[in-house]
C-alpha cells in the first residue's frame, strides 16, 4: 500500500514539535530532517505533490532509528516509525534497491554460517575482492559502518562462531520442568559470544531441556530497511525451525530479536497460510530478561561492591515494555549498588540492527549516551541487546572510560 493511504495519520501532525525532545537523532543533529515532525512533513509534501520520491529523502527516511521515542511524546501518538517503514518500502519500489541490500538480505542473512564466514574474511582483510560483501555487512550495525575498519567497533573478532561450538540440538539442563528453545541471534553468534555462553549457562540452571534452535537471522534488519519480502522470507525459514511443540518457551538474549519475533504475526496477516503458525510462535517468545526476572538463579556475594547502571535497548523498553524487570533484577543482586542512568531509554545509536546511515550521526548519539554514563560513575554498564553491547563497548573505548559493558546474562552468571 502506498504512503498516500496513510494521509489521515500523517495529517494528524499539528507540528507542535514535542517529538523533538525525545528523538535521539534530532537531539544530536538539531536537524528537522531527523525528527518525526520533519519526516512526516516530507511524507505530506510527497502526498500533496510538492515533493517527489528521490535520493534527497533517502536520509530522512533511513536515518530514523525506528526507536518509537517520538510516538511516546506525541499526544496524538502518531506511529511515525511505522509510517517511515511504509515509506521505506515505497522508496525501495520507486527509487530502487541497491545490490548490496540484495546481497545481504537474500544471500547472507538466511545462512548463519555464510554470514560468519563472510564477516571473518572481510575482517581479516585478506581478500580485497570482497568490497561488496564488506559494504553489505556494514549495513548491519553489529559490524559498524565500514567493516574493513571494524576493529574500531569489534574489539576482538572471534575466530569461531558461537554456533561452531554450540550446535543445534537438545541439551539436558538442571532445572525441574521448563523446556526452553534458545534462539541464537546474529550478534551473539558472530560477536558477543561471551553473552551467549553466559545465557546458555543460565538456561542450563533454569531449564530441564535446552534446545539450541536452528534459526537464521530474525529478519529485523530487512524489515527495518523496509524490505518486507526479504523479512518474510527470513521469518518463514525461522517459523519451521521454531514451530516445534517440544519446547514450552522460545528465549533469546537479544532484545531486538525478541521484539521482532513477537511481531511475526504482523508479517503474515490473517488469512495468510503462515498466519496461525506465526501467532503460535510469537506467543511463546520471551526476552531473556523477562525469563530471568521470573526464574532468578542465585548468585554468589561479591566482596567489593560494584556500581552498576542499565541501558534500555529500544527493542526492550518501547518494543516490549520491559523496563522494570532488569532494574529489579540488578537491584536484587547482592553486592551491587544500582544507579539509574540519565536518559536510560535513549537509543545508543546502535539501533538494534540496520540503522543509522551516518557513522558520524551514530557517534553523536553515542557521545550523549557516554556523557550520561560518566555522571553515574558506574563500574559496569548492563544491557540486554548484543547490538547495544557492541555499540556501547565501542563508546566506552572511544571515551577512554573504565566502565565495562556487559550483557545482563553475563552479570548474573
Amino acid at each position: 500500500m502506498d504512503i498516500a493511504t496513510y494521509y489521515d495519520d500523517i495529517s494528524q501532525c499539528n507540528k507542535c514539535g514535542f517529538c523533538q525532545v525525545a528523538c535521539p537523532i534530532f537531539r544530536s543533529t538539531g536537524h528537522e530532517s531527523g525528527v518525526a515532525r520533519g519526516r512526516l512533513a516530507l511524507l505530506r509534501a510527497i502526498i500533496e505533490g510538492r515533493l517527489e520520491w528521490g535520493a534527497d529523502i533517502e536520509e530522512p527516511l533511513f536515518d530514523c532509528l525506528l526507536c518509537g521515542a517520538c510516538t511516546a511524546n506525541c499526544f496524538p501518538a502518531i506511529p511515525t516509525a511505522d509510517l517511515v517503514l511504509k515509506a521505506r518500502s515505497e522508496y525501495l519500489e520507486k527509487v530502487g534497491r541497491k545490490s548490496i541490500h540484495r546481497l545481504l538480505f537474500d544471500h547472507l542473512l538466511p545462512y548463519p554460517r555464510r554470514l560468519h564466514w563472510a564477516a571473518r574474511a572481510v575482517a581479516l582483510g585478506k581478500n580485497s575482492g570482497l568490497s561488496d560483501v564488506a559494504q553489505a555487512l556494514g549495513l548491519l550495525r553489529i559490524f559498524g559502518r565500514n567493516l574493513p575498519k571494524a576493529n574500531e567497533i569489534v574489539e576482538r573478532f572471534p575466530h569461531r562462531a558461537f554456533r561452531d561450538t554450540n550446535k543445534p540440538g537438545v541439551y539436558a539442563g538442571r532445572g525441574r520442568s521448563l523446556r526452553v528453545g534458545y534462539f541464537v541471534g546474529c550478534g551473539v553468534d558472530v560477536i558477543t559470544q561471551d553473552a551467549g555462553n553466559a545465557t546458555l549457562q543460565l538456561l542450563n540452571k533454569i531449564a530441564k531441556e535446552v534446545h539450541i534452535l536452528d534459526n537464521c537471522c530474525c529478519g529485523l534488519p530487512a524489515w527495518s530497511y523496509g524490505d518486507m519480502e526479504a523479512a518474510q522470507r527470513l521469518a518463514e525459514k525461522n517459523l519451521s525451525a521454531l514451530a516445534s511443540r517440544e519446547v514450552d518457551v522460545i528465549v533469546t538474549d537479544c532484545s531486538s530479536c525478541a521484539s521482532f519475533l513477537k511481531k511475526y504475526a504482523n508479517l503474515f496477516p490473517p488469512g495468510h497460510r503462515l498466519h496461525d503458525n506465526a501467532v503460535f510462535v510469537a506467543g511463546r517468545v520471551r526476552d531473556m530478561v523477562a525469563l530471568l526476572f521470573d526464574n532468578q538463579p542465585h548468585t554468589a556475594v561479591r566482596k567489593d561492591p560494584l556500581t552498576v547502571t542499565y541501558h534500555d535497548p529500544c527493542h526492550a523498553a518501547r518494543g516490549q515494555g520491559i523496563v522494570r524487570e532488569p532494574r529489579e533484577i540488578l537491584k536484587s543482586l547482592p553486592g551491587i549498588n544500582y544507579k539509574e542512568l540519565p536518559e536510560a531509554d535513549w537509543c545508543c545509536g546502535g539501533a538494534g540492527s540496520y540503522a543509522v546511515a551516518h557513522h558520524e550521526l551514530s557517534r553523536k548519539v553515542l557521545d550523549r549516551k557516554m556523557d550520561n554514563l560518566k555522571t553515574t560513575g558506574a563500574d559496569i554498564l548492563v544491557t540486554s541487546c548484543p547490538a547495544c553491547v557492541i555499540q556501547l563497548s565501542f563508546g566506552v573505548r572511544r571515551h577512554g572510560l573504565n566502565t565495562q559493558v556487559r550483557h545482563i546474562s553475563q552479570l548474573i552468571s
Binding site: D8, S11, Q12, C13, N14, K15, C16, G17, F18, Q20, V21, T29, G30, H31, E32, S33, G38, A41, L42, A45, R50, L51, G54, D56, I57, P60, C74, F75, P76, A77
Partner: protein, 857 residues
Amino acid sequence: MITDLLIEKLRGIVGKSHVLAGRAGTELYSYDASLAWGQPGIVVFPADTPAAAAIVSAASQAGVACVPRGFGTNLSGGTVLPEGIIICLSRFNRILGIYPKSRHAVVQPGVTNLELQTALAPLNFFYAPDPASQKVSTLGGNIGENSGGPRCLKYGVTTNHVLGLEMILPDGEIIRTGGAALDPPGYDLRGAIIGSEGTLGIVTEITVRILPAHAAIVTMLAIYDDIGAAARSVSAIIGAGIVPTTLEMMDAPIIQAVEDSYACGYPRDAAAVLIIEVEGPAAGLEHQAQNIRELCMQNNCREINAAKNDAERNRLWEGRRGAFGAVARLAPSYLVNDCSVSRTKLPEALARVTEISERYEIPHGNVFHAGDGNLHPLLLFDSRDAEQMKRVKKAGWEIMEACVQLGGTISGEHGIGVEKLAAMHMIFSREDLDFQQGLKDAFDPCNLLNPGKVIPAPGPDDRKKAELSKTGGHGAAVTALIQTIQSAGIEKQVLLPVGNGSRREFGNLSSEMPFPLGSSGLDDIIEYDPSNQVVTIGSGLSLEKLQDELQVHNQWLPLRPPFATLAHSLGGLAATAACGPERMVYGSVRDLMLGLRFINGRGQLITAGGRVVKNVAGYDITRLMVGSAGTLGMITEMTLKVATLPERCCALTAQGSLDTLAGAAARIIESNLWPACIVAVPVEPQEADYWEISIGFEGIGKSVESQVEQANRLLQEKSMQSIGVQDYDPINGRFNEQYQVLDGFDFLLRANVPIDQLVDLFVAGQPSLPLHYPFLDLGNGRALLGLEKFANADWLNFADLSAERAGHAFLEKAPVEFKKENDVFGRPRPEWGIMHRLKNVLDPGHIFDPGGLPGKA
C-alpha cells in the same frame, strides 16, 4: 537573490554539511507550529557567533533576507521566510555557566528552556519563565517571542528575567547589551529585542536571572461544573490579593482530549478545571492554600484537591503542557488564539468565544493562563479543507476583535509573526505603528532581518483602532503639551521633560539650553481597577498621591526609589528607571509597567503596550521608554501593575566587618530564602571597617517571621549575631535616612557589578574614592556612593574598575563643572552606537534633549 556564489560563500563559512539548499531540505524548514507555510531558499547551521555574523554579513551584502530560528515551535509564523535564509541556531546548544552566587546563568540561544531548568534543579535554582513548550522551545525562541508560561503569573515573562544579550545586528556587527550587572546605562536595548520576533537582531548569547527554588509547593486541582464559575474564582483569588504561582484553566473538550492521551487525573465529567499552585516557605503556605480553597468553594467549585506527592503533581502538569498536542485527537489542525484581557473580564470573554465558535460551527476548546487573563481558545478543524480554513480564520479574527473591545490585546505571548499582522490595526494607530517601525528602521535600515513580520504595511485598515477602542481621547493638558512640542519643532527649540522638576540634573550637559517641559496638568488617576491590580495614571501624579489612593484598597506600587521623595512624579521615575534595593522581590520600574502613552518629537500621541498584564503585540516600546530619560518623548500616561500591601515588613540586622557581612549576604543569596533587600552601610562613616547589614523580608506575616528566623540561623552559621529585628513601614521602607545623607553630596555615583563582585569592587575602588558615604545594595550588586569631590582621573579609574568586573558606573549627580569635562556614563561602549541611531530615527527633529543618552552627543 540567492545565487550559487552566495551558497558557496555560506558553505565556506559553516562547511558543506551545514548548508541545506535542496527541495527536501528546504521543505523541512517551510513551517513552524503555526499554520503559516513558505519555502525558504537555504537553511544554514552556524555553530558560533563569528560564523553567524559572517552569514549575516554575506546575506546583507547580497541583499538577501534572513531569519533566526530556534526549534520552530512558535505559533505565529515567525520563522517562515519564503525564499530567504533560515539561520538555525540548534548548534548553539551549550550552557556556558551557572553562577548561583550572583544569581545568573549564561547560555547559548539553542539551549531549550527545560535543559536550563534541568541543569539548575540540582543547585536548587530555577529560571522563572516556563512556557508549556519548555522541553522543545529554545531560550532564543523564548526571547524572540517574549514567552510566558504558567508561572509567569507570579514572576513575569521572559523580559523580566533576561539580564543581558550578545547579538548580531542585521549588518553583521556584534554587540552586547546588559549582563549580570543590572541597569546598564542608556536605552533598554534588551527590552526592545525581547519579543522582537527575530526582526532586530540575532541573539547569540543570553544572560538570565536565576532564582532560588522555594522550600515548599502546593498544587491544587479545582473542579467545576460551570466554566463561568471557574473564571469567577480566578477573579476572586486575584481580587483577594493572593498571587499564586499559577492559575491555569482547561475546559471540558480539552480535559477529555488530554485524558484520552494520558491519564492525568482530570475528571472527565467536569466543565472546567483550574490548576492552582502556590509556593514559598512552608510556614504560611497552607494558610494561603486554605484561603484559595475557600474562595473557590464560594464560587461554586465542585471540589478542590491538592496533589499528594511529586508524581501526582507532575501528572497534573504533564496534561496541561500537552494540551495543545492532545487536541490533535479531536481534529488534525488547530488555530490557537492568544488574546489577553483583564482577569475580571474573563467570564465575558469566554462567553464571546463560545458564541463565535458556535456561529462559525468551528468547535473549540480552552486551555489557558487564566491568572494572567491570557486566553488560548483552540479552534479545531482540518487544514486540508479550504472552506473550513476560511471559517476558522474569520472566527479567530472576531475573537480578537471581541477581546480588544473588552479592553484586551491580540497577543499575550505567542507574538504577531505573519498570522496576526492585520490584527495589529485593532490596537495600534498608524502613528503608533510608525513609531514602532522607526525602531525597526534604526536596527535594520535595509529590512533584511525577518521582513514582513510584526508591523503591517500602511493601508486602509489604519483607521481600524479608532473604531474598536473607546480609550482614544485625552485631556486639555495633553493637548497643550502636543501644541508646545509641535511649535518647538517649528522653532527648533530643544525640550527636556522634567516631571515635577525635582531631578533635572540627570545625564550629561547638552549644548543648548533646553526648555523644561513639566507634567503638572497630568496628575490624575485615569483608571484604577483594584480587583485586577492595575492602575492607569497621568505621568505628573506624585508617588505619594498614588500610594495614598492605593492604600485605600490595601494595595501599593511596590517601588521605593532612593532620593525620590514621595512628591516625585511617576513620569520622572519611569524616565529615569529609579528603583531601590527591594527590587530583589518586586522588580524595577520596567517590570511594573504594562503600557504607556507619550508624545513624540512630531507631536503625536503614541500608545505603547496596553492595560493587561501580558502583552507581546508589537515591539516593546514600553520598555524602551522606561529609562530613556526624556530623550525620546514626553510620557503622559502610564499603566502599572500594583500589588497587595505586605502584611509585614521586617528587617534583621547584624554588625561586623564588611568581609563578614559579605559572607553572610552570599550565604543568604545562595539559600532558598526570598529577602526583599540586603543592604550594608557603615555604622560610623569614615571610621574603621565596621558595618551594619539589613536583611529585609516582606509579605505574609507567617512567612516573614519564619524567614527572619531562618536568616538568623544562617547568620549564626557564619558566626554572626543579629543585633535586632525591626519592623518597618511598607510605603517608606527602611533606608530614607541613608538616602538623605547620600543626597547631600555633590557627586552621587552608582555602580553595578555582578552581585558577588560588589564588595571586591568597593575595596578595589577605595583609593580613588575620597571621603565618601557608601550604601551597598548587596542583593542587587549595586553601590551608591556619595562623594564630595571626584577628580576626573579617579572617576575614569573607578569606571574602569567596574568595567573590569563586567559592570558599569554612572554618575547620577555631578556638578556642572565636572560634567563639562566628563561623560557621566563613563567610557564609550559599542552598543551606544545603535542607541544614537535610535534617537536619530525616533526623534528626527532632535526635539528632545539628548543629555540623558550615554555618549556625549
